[in-house]
Symmetry: C2
Subunit: 298 residues, 2 copies
């Protein structure tokens, strides 16, 4: 039997222009009874208030890359987001012994990623929860980052349990009613699952699940001064999680020529044409599709 | 016979996070032969370089609201965008006797507005050109703003001839290959049309056209502190230019209730859920659909 989940924290506004999480957290703050569950306490957090007020991803630096252990311990890092990260880590962490048992961090993306669950670790509790969620809505997909553990620099890494939820395609600075409702349903499903688990019940979930494992990222073709030379190919735009095989078009140059994907293995690109990743030099992230067998609940 | 068009200016980056126009202008600057036409000179302009570098709509103030005559003449207005507007007006204007015969200002929107032409005035040259463009691509629609004349505060108002092109749905900070190609095709079609007109040829166009005339705008329902209480209703999201009649759903409150449109006349909403308009208190703009007969070419 897993140990009990006592404290769940739902986070919005880690990026200040991703309105889905911000408005859901505001709704939960206004109607706290929505989060009441018998066996657990549920708190909310708006992670980056200055960026939310400015309707920008961040003020000085991407907050969701500020949670590496070394950075949290580095007193020389004093940007607005570095200071916020340290404050949040003191509140929800420390990573070695978190105050929050489960952290759910709500994000949106301009890529067509539906309802993507990025578990904070491959802990069996996270994976069984993800498998359960995938039965509720066909848009749910499970993706493990390169660092699917507490070494990651993301806010979610403050606790081994929980996930980031990436919802899209949604433009920055925009609320989409459908995705808002579906994200809220996921949050409720997570709380219900954990509440049932605390009470020794296991909500039924498949015994295996498909996981998209991040392998690498691909930048846009650029010239020597860093200027883009191509865009996402029209046949790949909005095709997140669909297979891409050797020779299939990946980019379209401004001069009209296609640039194909080259690789022995079929990949499943995600974060295709995410607005915030142009500056990170990421046109898309390549994943492999894996089937995981889930450990039976002990 | 209309007077000759000697100088066309193609503008991108009036808003620094609308990449379609920015990258098209950069392409034209790199390959200027693309703009060569027998009877006219074609120049390009990136209107808001600081906002482009920052990947933001504007630095201090929306540049595309800085071109009212009073503001251009007001020495007390010294924000970055006010100074840019005065510089651009000196270059392309003055409104009373423009240096640019035709201005084409390239924008994008998070609303699902396809390829929308907003003529700078109802000059017959603009309307015949718009009618011609509407025959080339079913996504082309013609919309006249409340101030469809040189009193408007938009950059396009520096000349009576020309238009804004609004392309979407595209997220801010994102390039979409399909829309990039279709916008470029529109620019070429405009230049071809004007070049033919200069040479006494009239490219065939229908003798009437549908125009969506802006009537008013509608804000989101807000509470007393200005916080949103509702979002665009899912049944209206991405339904720009579709009819909306009395009693049909317009907004969805965070608490789950629908708010219907109330009005005697059927309207055609546009700019539905435009990211940049939340701060302008515009959830959508209501238009009426009108059929205009075009004056025969004299």
């Amino acid at each position: 039997m897993s140990s009990l989940i006592r404290r769940v924290v739902i986070v919005g506004g880690t990026h200040g222009n991703e309105l889905t999480g911000i408005y859901l957290v505001k709704k939960f703050q206004k109607y706290p009874h929505l989060l009441h569950r018998k066996s657990l306490e549920c708190a909310t957090l708006l992670a980056n208030p200055k960026a939310i007020a400015a309707n920008r991803r961040y003020i000085d630096r991407d907050l969701n890359r500020c949670f590496a252990n070394g950075d949290l311990a580095n007193p020389a890092l004093t940007s607005y987001e570095d200071r916020r990260a340290k404050k949040i880590a003191a509140q929800l962490g420390p990573k070695s012994q978190p105050n929050a048992d489960v952290i759910i961090d709500l994000h949106s993306t301009t890529a067509n990623m539906g309802l993507t669950i990025l578990p904070s670790s491959k802990d069996p509790v996270n994976l069984r929860l993800a498998a359960y969620l995938s039965t509720l809505n066909p848009l749910v997909r499970i993706c493990c980052g390169v660092q699917c553990n507490q070494d990651a620099p993301m806010l979610r890494s403050l606790s081994p349990l929980g996930c980031t939820i990436e919802v899209g395609a949604i433009a920055q600075g925009v609320l989409n009613a459908d995705y808002l409702q579906q994200t809220e349903q996921l949050v409720h499903a997570i709380l219900d699952y954990l509440d049932a688990m605390n009470q020794g019940k296991v909500l039924s979930a498949p015994s295996s699940l498909n996981v998209y494992q991040v392998m690498s990222s691909v930048d846009y073709p650029r010239d020597s001064s860093g200027e883009l030379q191509a865009v996402i190919h029209p046949s790949l735009q909005f095709k997140d999680y669909e297979p891409l095989s050797d020779g299939e078009p990946m980019f379209l140059k401004f001069t009209g020529e296609s640039i194909p994907y080259r690789g022995e293995n079929t990949v499943y690109p995600i974060f295709i044409n995410e607005a915030a990743y142009y500056e990170k030099k990421i046109a898309m992230t390549l994943t492999s599709k894996q089937q995981l067998s889930l450990e039976p609940v002990s």
